[in-house]
Symmetry: C2
Subunit: 219 residues, 2 copies
DNA sequence: ACAAAAGTGTTAAACATACACCCATGT
DNA sequence: ACATGGGTGTATGTTTAACACTTTTGT
């Protein structure tokens, strides 16, 4: 390697991805158990070193697929943490991402990974509690101002599912009529068929209109 | 250095800081002329390599003070860019920051740094145009939802200065009465004395109340 | 008295909130 | 017929948007 780049001692760079999903009507985060020192046997956010010719986002996607088998999820960069003492092994800067997946599609690989309710997190390695706090804040923020919520739902969903999701994330009840009015007024949903074979009034199914990306300022 | 960290070839890490200020009733960005290859003589966002025992934010502050002589400014992390090919010399990941300074206090050091109007940017080195676009988007966003605007103003300011600032950043006129009502209703300003020795009706001076940090959801 | 910028109030429209009952289905 | 969750409308308060003239000072 040439001149200026080799003049400085280089830090290591990792990418860690906070993976959110909804399971059992609860907001969950995927954590993996560390198999080696430091923080052996503590839980940690899945992540790994960035390969020298791999983009940051590719590193995040790679880890995500390795752990969950899922591709094509909502993925966004969160923040980079680089305090010199955050890893006892040496200087490690981590670029963090957060992912939203619909856990129906997930098959966890190996038994080192586990879903934790956001309200019952274990002690975690490194500064990963800071990262989790930050990710949760960002998640709420995104729910308020964008359409990312729908990445946590199946393709077709009922209005009640949407409302349940918002109530889980904000840990707060919303008025049913007002909630529906609000969501429908955004004009981001398409009516699908009506659900069948349920022993109560069959709900309307909706899907997110194609080409609705992230769009700020809703709700 | 020990085990796992040295198993991987490490990327270089830089910190680049997009420095915004208002001069001549215009939104400006500070750029520096590169003195060496690659992109010799092209303009670039001020930045440098992260020292092995320096936090990311310290690296940003250091560069900021080196170039402008200013400390204690509004500084926030923007985004990390890490595409493998962004620097022709090798793998360089950059963590970007953006800073808002009141340029009254600034003495540019050396003649390699220059303020550019955001509307008349030169060609820039590396992927710095992407970074500038991103920074400008974030700036507007922050103006809409937080109180950062006041970091670009002197301690005491008139309502007209605040409005001018918003009009510069959004490149859009606002109604004077509604604008004042809005800002005053936020309850974030304190009345100071009235300006003197002006040949027109003397304006009220305001200052930002102490302890008003960033506070989301204004305007 | 004039030039320059500061300051001020009202009305209409849009949006948000609060609130309770009937509906469609399977068993 | 009953249990289950789905679906709907109206009235009130709050927020935003549109709009033009008078005030204070120095020269």
């Amino acid at each position: 390697m040439d001149n200026e780049l080799s003049k400085y001692e280089k830090p290591s760079v990792t990418v860690d991805t906070v993976i959110f999903s909804i399971k059992e009507n609860d907001l969950k985060v995927l954590l993996v158990k560390r198999s080696s020192s430091p923080f052996k046997d503590k839980w940690a956010i899945p992540g790994g070193f960035v390969k020298i010719d791999q983009s940051l986002e590719d590193a995040a996607k790679f880890k995500l697929e390795e752990k969950t088998g899922v591709k094509d999820v909502y993925l966004e960069q969160l923040y980079s943490f680089g305090s010199p003492k955050r890893d006892p092994r040496g200087r490690v800067i981590t670029v963090t991402y957060f992912a939203l997946i619909n856990s129906d599609n997930v098959k966890l690989k190996g038994d080192d990974a586990k879903w934790f309710s956001i309200t019952e997190l274990p002690q975690v390695a490194f500064d990963h509690n800071t990262i989790l706090d930050y990710a949760l804040k960002r998640l709420k923020w995104k729910f308020e101002y964008t359409v990312v919520a729908f990445s946590l739902l199946p393709k077709k969903f009922t209005m009640t599912q949407v409302q349940d999701l918002y109530e889980i994330v904000f840990n707060q009840k919303f008025d049913k009529r007002n909630f529906r009015k609000k969501i429908l007024s955004l004009n981001i949903l398409e009516e699908q068929e009506v659900m069948r074979n349920v022993s109560f009034r069959p709900p309307q199914l909706y899907s997110l209109k194609a080409n609705i990306g992230e769009i700020v300022n809703i709700l």
